[in-house]
């Protein structure tokens, strides 16, 4: 496809004799914001660094802008990176930091001035040109780090948990801003994070990883509503995972209870994922025509402001979570009925619960 700007094919990476990346392949479309998401230690940084050239994959290929780059020296790749700890040069002021890459390329001083000016304006850093990194707040340093990468107009922009050193409020506003700039410039971006909120809110495409294995790539909605593995279902948001057995129709059996799920119409065992916000509770089994009704007992509940989270136990002893939004002050307790719509559950075929 013409609009694929980067592709990783069968990448493996070892540190010593322990394998940290297992046969990872994915494609990145031009102008997309792609997020590598996974728990700490799953190999996100390692992948990013292989793209930047700080590590060499032990096997596999990386193609960027029509060129095989896995053996190219890091300074010849045009993959500007924003480091987690910013890595601003302490002996250079803001202007010099941002101009560094352009000057290395021997661009004329007028062009350097113009480009740096634009990048600083974009990151709202005007007026701070002559500050040194140690004279700026964390948020400002982070902006300089982004400006320093943007100004290079890279084939792909790499960001390694760039927001992790900012406080919660700032993180949210920078998130919006970063996404806006990325879309405005049409910049292909690989973004690393372990924060699912960040991933869901910013990305065109999310790649979920665990222990060096790629579990799923897809749009945020796909990842959220149609997880391909129990791990993805559990890692993105919170979910209830039930072991199920198919019986040839679109019905599955959970223990002895028949359940109806839109996404499974084949034979076989698997896992059913039901989000807590899809579970409804009621005291009476009033609607006999409804499907997917289970009895359960409330063990305790927790008030979280916009919702109340219930912890339940069904007849088979399995723990459930149910979120009731706009909860009011009435509280369920004791035996209740749980119900969820057939189109609100998602079956993952042929997998055991994670």
């Amino acid at each position: 496809m013409a609009d694929i700007v980067m592709e990783l094919r069968h990448i493996q990476k070892f540190f010593g004799s322990s394998q940290v990346i297992h046969d990872v392949s994915f494609q990145v479309k031009k102008g997309d914001f792609v997020t590598l998401l996974g728990p700490s230690g799953c190999g996100k940084t390692t992948i990013l660094r292989m793209i930047a050239g700080f590590y060499e994959p032990d096997s596999g290929e990386i193609e960027l802008a029509g060129r095989r780059i896995e053996r190219v020296a890091p300074y010849d790749r045009n993959t500007a990176m924003v480091f987690q700890e910013y890595a601003l040069f302490p002996h250079m002021n803001v202007f010099e930091n941002v101009a560094y890459g352009l000057r290395v390329r021997h661009e004329g001083s007028d062009s350097v001035k113009k480009k740096v000016g634009e990048a600083l304006a974009l990151m709202q850093l005007n007026g701070l040109e002559s500050r040194y990194p140690n004279q700026m707040s964390g948020g400002q340093q982070q902006r300089v780090a982004v400006a320093r990468a943007l100004v290079m107009n890279p084939d792909v922009l790499l960001l390694d948990e760039p927001l992790s050193n900012l406080d919660a409020k700032l993180r949210e506003s920078v998130r919006v801003e970063l996404r806006a700039i990325q879309q405005q410039m049409g910049l292909t971006t690989i973004y690393v994070t372990h924060d699912q909120q960040e991933a869901l809110s910013m990305s065109d495409s999310i790649i979920v990883m665990k222990q060096g294995v790629l579990h799923q790539q897809g749009r945020p909605e796909e990842i959220y509503f149609a997880p391909k593995t129990p791990f993805v279902a559990d890692f993105i948001g919170t979910t209830n995972l039930l072991p199920i057995e198919g019986n040839g129709s679109c019905q599955v059996v959970y223990g002895s209870d028949p359940l109806l799920a839109d996404t499974i119409c084949s034979v076989g065992t698997g896992v059913l994922s039901v989000r807590p916000e899809s579970v409804r509770l009621s005291r009476t089994a009033d609607a006999a025509d409804r499907v997917n009704v289970l009895t359960a007992r409330v063990t305790h509940s927790m008030f979280l402001g916009e919702k109340r989270r219930y912890f339940l136990q069904d007849r088979q002893g399995r723990e459930w979570l149910a979120d009731l939004y706009d909860p009011g002050i009435a509280i369920f307790n004791g035996d209740v009925y749980m119900q969820f719509a057939a189109d609100r559950s998602h079956a993952i075929v042929g997998q055991e619960p994670g």
Partner: protein, 553 residues
């Protein structure tokens, strides 16, 4: 194409070479470094080893004089090192664990002797306690003779006290006060705290310091020359063989014997102690906390001790100044500039020393940082060999280096004997480990991501080196410049074989003048040396301003 399907990270020579090929300039630099090391370290030392014949070896092993010199060397340096370590430890403890008044003063005074050649303590000893010594002869009318092992012991103890103090102070500083606070919190105090926590944590560092001081005193040449008299040690005996008896092979043999213990010490220090250390000698001092763990009585005892040490140091420097600027100290106290003019202003040797030392400082510093960058941040075959060769000269006595160089570059395509170049090469070899160590310590504190950011923005190794690494290592760079300049000005043993009538040096002048009894001119030259060092630092500070940190090392 899938060559890496084996279940391991790619590594080894082939992989590293393939990576290097992508950056030809880097490869070139590495080859160049190895070539330099080959020509100026490996070749001379192999050559020196090949000079003595089997008969020379046999003669040296069986000859009573030489066995004796060997024993003297070991005995005297053990004595001096132990004493210097004890004094240094007490002094360093007082500086780091008490709040005695005048600490800043004590710290500065303890460093003063490093600005003068180490034989200044020998010189002062002769002037005070020598055969015509001011105190023994002039005041007390004694006809004592303190030359020999006792005099050497005193003089070397004083000469190596500053080194012991600086090193131990570094060790104590790097012990986290939190550990001691924790122990105090658990009820430990006083000597118990000292014995169970402080001393235990410091032990590996102290052992390292002991060996470092030991290497220096084993290799000491000037002091045994001045006050050893008939108490010959290997360094002076080798010199006597070469210069006195014209027996070059025997000189070489003896210097090899001298290298054996120093090399041994080096290996123990580097490959055993450093790995077993709880704290690193070069570690960042923990900021801000004042440790006070001693009782008032101990505090005042320590204070008295520091006063005493400072008095001795100031006495030494004072007596040298007095001898330098009075007509005949002890008899005629008229002020005179005569000796200063003769020894410093009219003598070319001070200028020579200055030129050679400035060049050495510059080369050592740049080379040290480049080497540290290569060994720490680049992967290539032979990296550990490069690291080893850069540190090796620490263990080589100056006389050994000097002798090896004149034997290697006496003739042939690289005939350097009698030139300034060979002096600078000798000094550089001697100082390289200091510059390298400083750079390694500095570089280890810089996040790798700094260089990665630079590389990521398109800069290759060279651009990254001079645009990012060098500016960020300003501190290490300054220390290395200052140290190697100071040490090169003062060195005696390294250059004793390398000087020529054309290129004589001030430190050699001091020794030969003192040896011939021209104590006043020798003193004036020593004073001139200290002044030259001060003025140079002052000028550097004036011109470079914030580019260099000289006075807050």
């Amino acid at each position: 194409m899938q060559e890496g399907t084996v279940g391991r990270e790619q590594s080894g020579w082939a992989f590293e070479l393939r990576t290097l090929r992508r950056e030809p300039q880097l490869l070139l630099a590495i080859v160049l470094v190895f070539a330099l090391f080959g020509v100026f370290i490996i070749y001379p030392f192999v050559k020196l080893l090949l000079v003595p014949s089997a008969a020379d070896w046999q003669h040296a092993v069986t000859g009573r004089i030489f066995i004796e010199a060997f024993e003297h060397t070991i005995f005297s340096s053990l004595l001096a090192t132990t004493m210097a370590m004890i004094l240094g430890f007490i002094y360093a403890y007082a500086m780091n664990y008490t709040d005695i008044p005048g600490k800043r003063f004590f710290q500065i005074v303890a460093l003063l002797p490093t600005m003068a050649p180490s034989i200044v303590s020998g010189l002062a000893f002769i002037m005070l306690f020598g055969r015509r010594g001011f105190i023994t002869y002039h005041w007390l009318g004694l006809h004592t003779d303190l030359y020999g092992w006792f005099g050497l012991w005193v003089v070397q103890t004083i000469a190596f006290f500053p080194l012991a103090y600086i090193t131990i102070s570094g060790v104590l500083k790097s012990i986290s006060p939190n550990l001691e606070l924790a122990a105090q919190n658990l009820g430990a105090r006083g000597f118990y705290l000292f014995r169970t926590v402080t001393l235990r944590l410091a032990t590996p560092g102290l052992a390292s310091a002991f060996l470092l001081v030991g290497i220096n005193s084993l290799a000491d040449f000037g002091n045994p020359m001045l006050v050893g008299a008939n108490y010959h040690v290997l360094a002076t005996e080798a010199y006597a063989q070469v210069v006195g008896a014209w027996d070059l092979p025997m000189g070489a043999t003896l210097s090899v014997f001298l290298v054996i213990p120093t090399l041994l010490v080096f290996f123990v220090q580097r490959y055993y102690l450093e790995k077993h250390s709880y704290v690193t000698v070069t570690g960042k001092p923990v900021a801000g906390m004042q440790r006070v763990t001693v009782s008032p009585l101990v505090r005042w005892l320590l204070f008295a001790f520091c006063v005493l040490i400072c008095a001795v140091i100031l006495l030494i420097i004072g007596i040298v100044c007095l001898f330098a600027f009075t007509r005949t100290f002890g008899y005629d106290y008229t002020f005179t500039m005569e000796y200063f003019i003769e020894g410093v202003l009219q003598s070319a040797s001070m200028k020579n020393s200055w030129i050679a030392s400035i060049c050495t400082a510059a080369i050592t510093t740049i080379l040290g940082i480049a080497l540290a960058f290569l060994t720490l941040r680049r992967r290539f075959p032979g990296r550990t060999v490069m690291d080893f060769l850069a540190m090796l000269p620490v263990s080589l006595p100056g006389t050994f280096i000097g002798l090896a160089l004149i034997m290697a570059f006496n003739q042939g395509p690289l005939a350097l004997t009698g030139t300034l170049a060979i002096i600078i090469i000798g000094m550089t070899l001697r100082q390289l480990p200091v510059g390298y160590r400083q750079a390694v310590a500095g570089l280890s504190q810089i996040e790798k991501s700094m260089e990665q950011a630079s590389t990521n923005l398109g800069a290759n190794s060279f651009v990254t080196f001079y645009k990012v690494i060098v500016p960020m290592l300003k501190n290490a760079l300054s220390i290395s410049l200052v140290y190697s300049f100071m040490k090169s000005m003062n060195t005696l043993s390294t250059v004793i074989f390398l000087i020529s009538p054309e290129w004589n040096l001030a430190s050699i002048n001091i020794m030969s003048l003192a040896d011939q009894g021209f104590l006043a001119v020798a003193s004036a030259t020593a004073v001139g040396m200290m002044l030259t060092i001060f003025v140079t630092f002052g000028l550097a500070k004036l011109f470079l301003r914030d580019q260099i940190n000289i006075f807050d090392l």
